[in-house]
């Protein structure tokens, strides 16, 4: 087994870095080409953007612990990898936005930095995931055993990622306003059903079989309901970060969260299968 960043051959590290760059592009491409995301980069609250970047670090450290582009040993390694992923996320975002002409001369530093920084969040997650999904070895070889809290963390990361991808779009708000309260209630139950089916029923690779002695409701409560609750909290955080629920009344906030909670639930379930 290899131990630590410093003992790697430089070539391995460069390949890992290039792979991380590829992962950053793949995972953040939809959002790199979303107009609302560019606007958010300069229009959103600066402190909320700073908080988002700050919270991305523990997220990346956790992701590095469970997967990641290098086999890591200990917190220091995970922290170093988190910063590498963040750097790759910034670089990939800057390169892509530069190519698209979204950033360029004549724009203020605030505008340029904001546009790149907000892309660095999904980009760095993609960089981190690159090894897990695109790495040379089978991800299962390196899958670290996640306990219950680890599973919750993985679901949170998956929910955050998918919710982040759709939250900036106008459609989330529009869908929430088009739906009646009954639509929203149906969507909540559909999200729970889809989530449970994804992990336990559809027999995807990575499906978790339910031990026969543990009743359905026990697994449903401890994993699906908790995962959905985490998804709702992530949706709330993302919507608040993007300033999409400011000055809204509680019923509208809840229905918007429920709309974003659907992709969040799917993301949480998929993350349990993939990571």
């Amino acid at each position: 087994m290899k131990a630590g960043l410093q003992k790697h051959a430089p070539r391995d590290f460069l390949i890992g870095l290039a792979r991380a760059f590829g992962g950053a592009i793949i995972f953040s491409l939809p959002i790199l080409m979303t107009m609302e995301m560019w606007h958010l980069g300069f229009a959103m609250d600066t402190l909320r953007l700073a908080l988002l970047l700050l919270l991305t670090l523990p997220l990346l450290i956790g992701l590095s612990h469970y997967i990641g582009f290098e086999e890591t040993f200990g917190f220091k390694d995970d922290a170093v990898d988190a910063f590498v992923a963040l750097t790759v996320g910034f670089a990939a975002g800057a390169a892509a936005l530069g190519l698209f002409g979204v950033i360029g001369p004549g724009m203020s530093l605030r505008e340029t930095a904001g546009k790149i920084a907000i892309q660095a969040v999904p980009g760095s997650m993609g960089a981190m995931l690159a090894q897990g999904q695109l790495g040379g070895k089978s991800p299962n070889d390196k899958k670290r055993h996640a306990g219950y809290l680890g599973e919750i963390f993985i679901m949170a990361a998956g929910a955050l990622f998918l919710a982040f991808n759709v939250a900036p779009t106008e459609e989330i708000i529009l869908i929430a306003y088009q739906m009646t309260p009954w639509h929203t209630i149906a969507l909540v139950f559909a999200s729970l059903g889809v989530m449970h089916a994804f992990v336990y029923a559809l027999e995807f690779r990575g499906t978790v079989p339910r031990p026969p002695e543990i009743p359905f409701w026990s697994v449903f409560l401890r994993f699906t309901v908790v995962g959905y609750a985490v998804g709702l909290l992530m949706s709330f955080y993302i919507l608040w970060t993007f300033g999409r629920i400011d000055a809204l009344a509680l019923p509208q906030i809840l229905s918007t969260i429920a709309v974003l909670g659907f992709p969040a639930a799917v993301g949480a379930a998929a993350a349990r299968l993939i990571l």
Partner: protein
């Protein structure tokens, strides 16, 4: 091996990976009779409460919430001088029970009964019981004239 099973054994048998797969069936105090740690039940209960209260609130809204048409109220927040004239900050509040889309807000400056200037802007979405801040530009100082604000119309989303 099923993941849940592995997890249980890991918790029951010790804290490191070496314990995974062993058949030990110890019962530390933090574990309920069915082998599921208390922590998982506590988090499960919190998650259940959160989801149940969201559903409960939505059902309550569905049963009691009003679907009255939008009722837009416009209030002048402040008037500031800008490079090309003046800007009037307006707060638009929807007191009705449904969302108004594409609300056109118009402001008119009058001297006595003579209209001098007109500005308008559009609010994308104005949800019920919610507010939006808007700005209207004028070349003359609205503080010395009469300013009329009006919502012209909207579309149901």
């Amino acid at each position: 091996m099923p993941q849940l099973e592995r997890q249980k054994r890991k918790r029951a048998g010790g804290t490191n990976e070496a314990a995974v797969g062993t058949q030990s069936r110890q019962s530390p105090s933090s574990q309920a009779a069915d082998g599921i740690p208390t922590l998982e039940w506590v988090i499960g209960a919190v998650g259940f409460l959160l989801v149940a209260s969201v559903i409960g609130f939505l059902v309550y809204q569905a049963l009691t919430g009003d679907r009255q048409p939008p009722d837009v109220q416009l209030n002048i927040e402040s008037i500031v001088q800008t490079t090309n004239g003046y800007m009037v900050h307006v707060k638009a509040v929807n007191h009705g029970g449904s969302t108004a889309e594409g609300v056109v807000v118009a402001g008119r400056l009058l001297e006595g009964a003579v209209p001098l200037e007109r500005s308008e802007t559009t609010v994308d979405y104005l949800p019920p019981r919610s507010e939006k801040k808007i700005g209207l530009f004028f070349t003359r100082d609205p503080r010395n004239l009469r300013l009329e604000l009006r919502a012209l119309g909207y579309e149901a989303p």
